[in-house]
Amino acid sequence: MGYLSTICVLGCINIIAVLGMAVLTGYTGLFSIGHAGFMAVGAYMSAALFLQWHVPFLLAVPIGGLIAGASSFIIGYPAFRGRGKLRGDYFAIATLGFSEAVRLLFNTTYPVFGGAYGLNGIPAFTTLPVAIGVTLLALLGAHNLMTSQHGKVCIAVGQDEVAAQMMGVNLLRTKMSALFISAVYAGIAGGLFGFYMTYLSPNNFGIGKSSDLLAAVVFGGMQSLVGPLVTAFLLVAMPEVLRFLTDWRLVIYGVLFVVVMIYRPQGLFGYREMKFDWFWHLVARFRNRKQISANEDES
């Protein structure tokens, strides 16, 4: 039972980070190979907030996420400000640089963060209910965003940013927002991760982790939340089942990246939106009933 619970918690944590990646890469079309860096920021910051300044867990994690979001401006603004075809590539390079720089910083900062020895003694506050609860909230938030006008703007930027700009879309703001959201999500996932593993090491957040996140979006499908969500969970659960393949994980991902891009770029569930209509009908009915009783009260 504990084993299954571990897979679920780690799966949820991965889902949260992947949802952020879906917003950035799946919807807005921006390639990042450095989101482990944002996870690291969220993880270390929320742990430090708790251990050093006794900020309660349920506050420390979101704040850690926001700090990760804020750090995204360092690469977002310079990379997205300019014009030109290669800006997307510059951004990708910057994410890689950022991730490595972050890892280096945490690896060499011994006070508070433990440096190369890692950070110990984080209490295990991320229980299964917590993980599931945050995941559901994250999913709801991402769904609301992507079905809103903001989401459509992201999609437009991802498909043809020149045309989008002509129709009044502010490219800089859109891209920085998408990046911010994805960084916050990654940061929150990182925070939950720290409070689950009870120990953090800079090696948790290397390029392999960033590749994992990207893989979930690539395989799960562009412009979709369901696809990456399911894939994110599978990518955590399957290696456990297929132990012998763990070493080859990154090789397999690499080959699959090429194969998927050539033969099925839409991934598993690409370009399909989740529909929660049944849920909103319920909400609408509930609201109507409230309205009716309010009217009765008045008269």
Binding site: G88, I93, L96, F98
Partner: protein, 291 residues
């Protein structure tokens, strides 16, 4: 003063390696508008090929270099044909091509990791010791690496500027579609460009391996080369060289006078500064979208 000069030369020597890679990048993206993320895989292949050529087959250095170049170019061409060409043919979005390149890189680098293990291998020294010149001590190998790199770059320059094939490459860099219409075989251009990439990354990989060590994740240094070409500006091969040399020098000087631990942090900061204040790099050309 001599200390400073020494560091300067050391910086130039590492910058020379960066510039080999940066030119490889610049070449690919000036023609295809695409960053070849698999470059780190090429570099690692070059380093390991040469390493095993010397340690297993006891080849002399020059032969190992040739062997390495052949193997790496082979890999480069395979990658181009398997991972890039199909996508280019159907004009896939840039994001998809980046993902494919990333995949190729991940596959090759991690196969190397599994096959050879993560240990740091020391290259058998080729040119030992250092020479003294006016009070400054320069490592022989550093000198050799720098000179060899410049020779390679000069050969490349000659090829691009003075040969007919090179002209075809430059024409493709400006406008691939028109070049194709004018009778330039686009597939042959691809072969040439990725072949050159193979040569450049093999040489860079070998020298990097000699200077530091050979290990599967050695390709991470290609990010420095990318930064170097951003500094120099897109659309300019000379800019890529200058940008990389500058990066190598600044990196070395700062890591020497301030702190060596934060070397990567320094190049990242330089990247951010350049993106903020020099959007077209130092020598880049402004590009205009064709609407």
């Amino acid at each position: 003063m001599t200390f400073f000069l020494q560091q300067l030369i050391s910086g130039i020597s590492i910058g020379a390696i960066y510039s080999l890679l940066a030119v490889g990048y610049a070449l690919v993206y000036s023609v295809y508008n695409f960053t070849n993320w698999a470059f780190d895989a090429f570099m690692v292949t070059g380093a390991f090929a040469a390493f095993y050529a010397i340690s297993l087959f006891f080849m002399p250095f020059w032969m190992a270099m040739v062997f390495s170049i052949l193997v790496t170019s082979g890999l480069a061409l395979t990658t181009e044909v398997v991972a890039y060409r199909p996508l280019r043919a159907r004009q896939a979005p840039r994001l998809f091509m980046m993902i494919s390149a990333m995949g190729a890189s991940m596959a090759v680098v991690n196969i190397a990791n599994l096959a050879f293990g993560g240990a740091f291998r020391k290259f058998p020294q080729v040119a030992e010791g250092s020479i003294r010149w006016g009070g400054v001590s320069i490592g022989r190998m550093d000198l050799f690496a720098a000179m060899f790199s410049f020779v390679v770059l000069a050969l490349l320059w000659y090829f691009l500027e003075r040969t007919k094939l090179g002209l075809g490459v430059r024409a493709s860099a400006l406008d691939m579609v028109t070049a194709g219409i004018m009778g330039i075989n686009n597939n042959r251009i691809a072969v040439i460009i990725f072949g050159i990439s193979g040569v450049l990354s093999a040489v860079a990989g070998v020298f990097y391996g000699v200077k530091y060590a050979v290990y599967p994740y050695l390709g991470m240094v290609t990010i420095k080369a990318m930064i170097g070409s951003i500094i120099g500006g897109i659309g300019s091969l000379a800019g890529a060289v200058i940008g990389s040399l500058l990066l190598g020098v600044i990196e070395t000087l700062i890591s020497c006078y301030v702190s060596s631990v934060y070397r990567d942090l320094i190049s990242f900061t330089i990247l951010v500064v350049v993106l903020l204040f020099f959007p077209s790099g130092l020598m880049g050309t402004k590009t205009v979208d064709k609407l």
